[in-house]
């Protein structure tokens, strides 16, 4: 195994592209090192991107934020602007693993690891975030929901890597929230994750996006769930419709972390609860 730590995105892409064998991009390392240690993967080249200029930047852009690929959950949590605009994304980043993991783990890494249960992916999808992908043929932007295409699989081509995540601008009276179900209070992989982003006009939900994690091979955007909320004040009936839509969008598995029945039921419960939190934030109550 070779270890390289290039100082530009261009060099990083060139290294990844030129290596004929197995490559891994090292950002926070919280997944890559576990894979290395277990012998699950034996890469020929590891490219540590943390020496790349600007890779730790959180830059304001078109009213939104461009988050560098090495920005950790702890850094996001310390960034007042991102935390105000996208509290759900930030709370998800601070749920991944422990304090020690928050200090290293990144949005881009969580996305590229392509676990169906990744905590930050549902809120990024709900946020309509895009990933900026750098590759040998240049740069392209891809909506987050199109990056993961299956467990452990992404839409990235050979030689490509994510350089940044873009979180778009928010209208007034908008907010997001993320909730996950785990058996303990910390340290578990999500059994179900639910993210809701919404905006209010005159107290009525005018925009909404709902996304679920750990209930299908990839995180899912629940369009019926969003439709159930838009035009309502998230009254009881709207929430029940949302919950039913969330449960209906589940295509989970039985595994050591939960059953199909449990995931399907709890997806609806969490979608409702996340909506109420987002709503209260959008109203400026929390």
């Amino acid at each position: 195994m070779r270890y390289e730590s290039p100082s530009t995105l261009h060099d990083a892409v060139a290294l990844l592209h030129a290596e004929p064998g197995l490559t891994r991009v090292l950002a926070g390392g919280t997944d890559v090192l576990v894979q290395l240690r277990s012998g699950m993967v034996e890469p020929d080249l590891v490219v540590d991107i943390k020496r790349i200029d600007g890779i730790y930047d959180i830059a304001e852009e078109e009213g939104g934020f461009r988050v560098g690929a090495a920005v950790s959950g702890a850094m996001l949590d310390e960034h007042a602007g991102v935390k105000t605009a996208w509290p759900g994304v930030v709370e998800a980043a601070c749920l991944v693993g422990s304090t020690q993991v928050h200090a290293r783990a990144t949005l881009a890494g969580n996305l590229c690891n392509a676990s169906p249960a990744a905590d930050t992916v549902p809120p990024m999808i709900a946020a309509a975030a895009t990933a900026r992908i750098h590759g040998p043929d240049g740069v392209r932007d891809l909506p987050v929901e199109q990056v993961g295409i299956g467990p452990g699989k992404t839409a990235l081509e050979k030689g490509e890597m994510i350089g940044s995540i873009f979180l778009p601008a928010r209208p007034a009276h908008s907010a997001d929230a993320y909730l996950r179900f785990i058996p303990r209070t910390e340290m578990d992989i999500a059994v179900v994750g639910a993210a809701v982003s919404l905006a209010l006009e005159d107290g009525v939900i005018s925009e909404a996006r709902v996304a679920l994690g750990a209930v299908a091979p990839t995180a899912v955007l629940v369009e019926d769930g969003a439709a159930a909320l838009i035009g309502t004040t998230a009254d009881e009936q709207a929430l029940e419709t949302l919950a039913a839509a969330a449960s209906a969008s589940c295509n989970p598995i039985n595994d050591k972390r939960g059953t199909v029945e449990f995931r399907t039921d709890v997806a609806g419960v969490l979608a409702k609860r996340a909506t109420l939190i987002a709503l209260s934030r959008a109203r400026g109550e929390a």
Partner: protein, 160 residues
């Protein structure tokens, strides 16, 4: 091929050679003789290997030795100032906050890092900050009390 790394550990300039796939934990323990950081799991799930890197608590089993180039690393061996124990170390002893002691180095590093960022944490904040540091002996009760008491002392308040 081995990689040459120059770094700072507990304030000391340190150089070493490591394999590309060698973790910082293995470098500390097997190359530098700093065995205070422990391997409890090797997967970032137990926190026994916690060190600080540029002021943030990390699991050294999830950091490559090569990544430490130019960084500042802090381990449990660097917590006491000479013969004076850090208040957290003293409070851990006073409160009997350890039984076997294998988790203690990681918890001390993590707790010190917490108090540097948040000198007045609530019990809940301490519990969540330390959620990644498993202890199987104590049930955490005396650990939490020791951290809260150390924080109070460091703020100059009377003993809790």
């Amino acid at each position: 091929m081995q990689i040459h790394v120059a770094t700072t550990i507990n304030g000391d300039q340190t150089e070493y050679l490591c394999d590309p796939d060698e973790t910082l934990l293995d470098v500390l323990r097997d190359r530098l003789g700093l065995t205070g950081a422990k391997e409890g799991c090797g997967t970032g799930d137990c926190g026994a290997c916690t060190v600080t890197m540029d002021g943030r608590a990390v699991c050294s089993c999830l950091v490559l030795g090569a990544e430490a180039q130019g960084r500042e690393i802090g381990t449990v061996e660097g917590i006491a100032a000479g013969e004076s124990l850090h208040p957290l170390q003293r409070k851990f002893l006073e409160h009997a906050a350890l039984q076997c002691g294998i988790c203690t180095p990681g918890i001390l590093v993590a707790a010190k890092n917490l108090l540097e960022k948040n000198p007045e944490p609530t019990e809940t904040e301490v519990r969540f900050w330390l959620a990644g540091n498993l202890c199987r002996c104590t049930g955490y009760d005396k650990i939490i009390r020791a951290v809260m008491d150390a924080a109070a002392e460091m703020r100059g308040e009377a003993h809790a």
